[in-house]
Point group: C2
Chain length 195, copies 2
């Protein structure tokens, strides 16, 4: 039988695979696609730097932990591209199964706690979850703006789709939503994004 520490180490070894899950987003210098682990790190840094823009009081510590775990299920369920409607049909089912498989590697109480953070992110009922989603929507926009339209050009994404995608930012942090809309307008002006 595995000891508690063995189970914890097994989990920490398994999640190394998140470094291999590629997103559609390119790094800001455009050199390669971003992976889920470095994306999660970047969101945690954004939470630390931008949390003052949440109008309500948020538990920063929980936001950080939430963004650190929010993509873990993609180790088994894969990354579902934001603009792929078909893949979104069974996304929830695939991710619930993945969560069951992944979090059960941990001692049960600890696994439930981490899964709880992911469930909270998915449910979008708390200010922490809404802020986490705001960051998750703002970050690729920032990347696509600074790498001159990378993903948008590769996948022929148009302005209305991006505007729809960034809508939830307003729920989490209105100031950041305004900034996001500004980036979209600038992207169109500069020819990074098609009208």
């Amino acid at each position: 039988v595995d000891t508690r520490l063995d189970q914890q180490i097994n989990f920490l070894v398994e999640i190394d695979k998140l470094k291999q899950i590629l997103r559609q987003t390119y790094l800001i210098d455009g050199s390669r696609q971003e992976n889920d682990a470095e994306h999660s790190w970047h969101l945690a840094m954004m939470a630390m730097v931008l949390h003052e823009y949440v109008p309500e009081k948020v538990d920063l510590c929980r936001v950080i932990q939430m963004v650190l775990v929010h993509d873990l299920v993609e180790i088994y369920a894969g990354d579902t591209f934001a603009y792929d409607a078909k893949a979104h049909e069974d996304k929830e089912k695939r991710e619930q199964e993945a969560a069951g498989k992944l979090f059960s590697i941990l001692p049960s109480k600890q696994g439930e706690k981490l899964r709880g953070l992911w469930e909270e992110f998915e449910a979008q009922d708390t200010p922490e979850a809404k802020f986490a989603t705001a960051l998750d929507r703002l970050q690729p926009l920032m990347h696509n703006y600074y790498n001159q339209g990378g993903t948008w050009k590769t996948h022929n994404v148009r302005k209305d789709k991006v505007m729809q995608r960034i809508e939830p930012i307003a729920e989490g942090a209105p100031v950041l939503a305004e900034y996001a809309r500004h980036l979209v307008e600038e992207s169109v002006k500069k020819g990074y994004l098609a009208e």
Copy 2:
């Protein structure tokens, strides 16, 4: 003049470069070298899962934030390989300059706060900093064990050097130090690490 939000965004864009700073450590599947951003994410996950092994009471939230920022200075100072004595001679000077350059992109109070976390990590005076270092020493050992001696073989690193490298783990979390020594012994037995 930049607004506060502009300064914050400039910082968040600049630190994307951490994803390009390669460490000597290979991923657990051995496929490629690990970068500093995904390494920092992994340490934060380890802090969440393993903090029960710190004998004193630690502020988990500060440990997480500390490991998230602990390698940021390497954006300008580069990664200094653990077993490169020559490069360690001017490491502190290079990193202090890098910290000055990087953290001053942020609004000053916020930049000081983040720099403070890095300084705390470097000073190794608090249980939080000691635990962060314990994780920073355990993680590459875990990688080298599971990828069958990757970095050790590439750089002809021997057991005594690794034992020396993992010594600080005992300061942060004695149980993890015991586990680390066990991994070293197993690595020698299995031929991943030379005696």
